[in-house]
Symmetry: C2
Subunit: 360 residues, 2 copies
């Protein structure tokens, strides 16, 4: 029986993408070899690699003036690569702090150049909302402005993005990329670790304005320059071939399920279902996040006591629901309901919430 | 029918490791989830992660005074990370050039600090041998001395490693790690992309003397410091979980097949079989590599004309042998016969060589 997977990431993947991988694992396209055993310079792999990139372009409507790169190292490596490439001497970069991941990005930027906090919603080490545009103090001369679009730990998400004018907007979308259509042209650079909505961990998607690729610094190691990967179609060095293959399978499943318009409807329905269940019993379940900052990907809530939360998690576990424990830094319950989380799983969780609260 | 896979990398993997992955792909250890869907902080993945590291330690006899790290980015990223961590200001690093990969490592080092060529066997853009110890001009004050243990393109391999005294020896062993037992204590740092003898691409093994981990620079991004990964058991950020899982499967298969002593016997037998077939018909097949520099992993040879080489490759393809075309920079034939290449496949190639040459 398949678990109801509410993991924050690595997270559930579309079953059809996994079934295809299982079927083809020993022999992809009748070549007598696993995709993992194919050369990254051979035509079997290269076709899959190009399909993966084409699906990113198609689903997100990426303009031709942007490069789509498949890299390694996760978002954590992008925390360093972004300033290495884009933070020239004499310039400063803006960071909007909305949680632990933006703080990490900011800290890594600090090692490499001049960075500023352009806004923060931190109170007592917690972040329960996204700042209003009026609260941001953006530097009109910044090399770039960095935001984290969705915060897995605190369950907050930008509902719209700040207008940074001529300053390139850089967004870490690791935990909500592809949850709905976006206008890529509003961003200078988007990056995302694959392990939520794209595929397995070990692949990192970067979408970058070609003007930024070209303007990037050249006095850094070749392997860390975006241009290196753009000029070589992400085949400068051996890519994580199986990861890219599976990302292709996942994006194909997203396309079959109605593309990003389909995903948005699916995700909004699940989020509505779950937040309604929380709000319907405000004396028992409580979401600490401001209503206009609530995430559609990570729904966090608490119960009246930690003892009740432990009981709730134990009952969830008996019903084969996994990954519901809140991050150790905030406690409580967290349901991560990315693209591959089904409405049935969310309904299962809502049923548990209803039954658990009854008589208490 | 399984192809006879002579790919240079990504390369053949042990069938048992793949079969296990296929069997468990949708449901690992009866958890109702793929290993790719498990949290890297959960006990199922963590046990596999620790098994992978323990198998590296056991098979290679890694001393306790060394860290074993599983990273991302391939050897190409190590070309940069090694000097970033170990090349302090005021110091210089030595590079022994034996092919395209050591040249790339040297070039990346040059971006980051002072580097020297301590020896090179390049003649007319080709490298047909490993330098003798007496040919090396090693700097006794170097931050480290870097070698590439095996050269996939030119088919050469160090039979023994230079004595660098107190200078840490850094070796890129991407293409021959685990082919036989080695004395890890002779090295300051060993690194290897997984995609030949360890597993799928996307995982990088680093074995580093803890003294070097501790002495590494602290003014570089946290993500690129070896200490970050050492202090966090390679779980600082999300690891490539499926890649590590498969590496575990591969190393388990190596252990079952007699460990590295078993691998050495297996590999020496295959190499002897193939080199004998070449040397038996010196007017037809020719290996351009000096006898005492020949690789046990990548066997390169030529035929009298390019037309005959094309015919040979076509016949190989009909017999379902793949990956035999030499690298575009050198031409000819290259048979990569890593751990997972069976003796039967090599015998198949030898049979083809015998039959092809007959009557010509």
């Amino acid at each position: 029986m398949r678990a109801m997977n509410f993991n924050a990431g690595p997270a559930a993947l579309p079953l059809s993408a996994l079934e295809r991988a299982a079927r083809e694992l020993l022999d992809v396209e009748s070549t007598g070899m696993s995709i993992m055993e194919h050369s990254h310079r051979g035509k079997t792999y290269e076709a899959i690699h190009n399909q993966a990139i084409a699906l990113v372009r198609e689903l997100l409507g990426v303009p031709d003036s942007y490069d789509v790169l498949l890299l390694q190292g996760g978002a954590s490596q992008q925390f360093a690569m972004v300033p290495m490439n884009l933070l020239e001497a004499g310039k400063s970069a803006d960071y909007v702090l909305t949680g632990a991941w933006s703080q990490k990005a900011y800290k890594e930027g600090k090692v490499l150049g001049k960075v500023r906090v352009a806004g923060s919603t931190e109170v007592d080490k917690k972040f329960t909302r996204i700042p209003k545009p009026s609260e941001l103090e953006l530097d009109a001369d910044a090399a770039y402005a960095h935001v984290t679009s969705n915060n897995t730990i605190f369950g907050t998400q930008f509902q719209s993005f700040p207008d940074t004018g001529k300053v390139p907007l850089v967004a870490d979308m690791s935990s909500d990329i592809m949850w709905k259509p976006i206008d890529v042209a509003k961003f200078g650079l988007i990056y995302a670790g694959a392990q939520k909505n794209l595929g397995p961990s070990g692949v990192t998607l970067v979408i970058i304005d070609k003007a930024l690729t070209a303007a990037g610094r050249k006095d850094i190691p070749v392997i860390f320059q975006y241009r290196t990967h753009a000029e070589n179609n992400s085949l400068y060095n051996t890519p994580p071939t199986f990861g890219v293959y599976l990302l292709r399978n996942v994006l194909d499943a997203v396309k079959q399920a109605g593309g990003l318009a389909g995903m948005e409807k699916h995700n909004r329905e699940k989020a509505a279902l779950l937040y309604s269940a929380i709000d319907a019993r405000p004396d028992f379940y409580r979401c600490p996040v401001d209503k206009d900052s609530r995430s559609t990907m990570n729904v966090v809530f608490t119960l009246p006591t930690e003892a009740l939360e432990a009981e709730f998690l134990a009952e969830a576990s008996r019903r084969k629901m996994v990954g519901l424990k809140g991050h150790r830094s905030v406690g409580g319950i967290r349901a991560s309901i990315y693209n591959a989380c089904s409405k049935e799983w969310v309904q299962g969780l809502v049923d548990l919430m209803t039954e658990f609260q009854k008589g208490r």
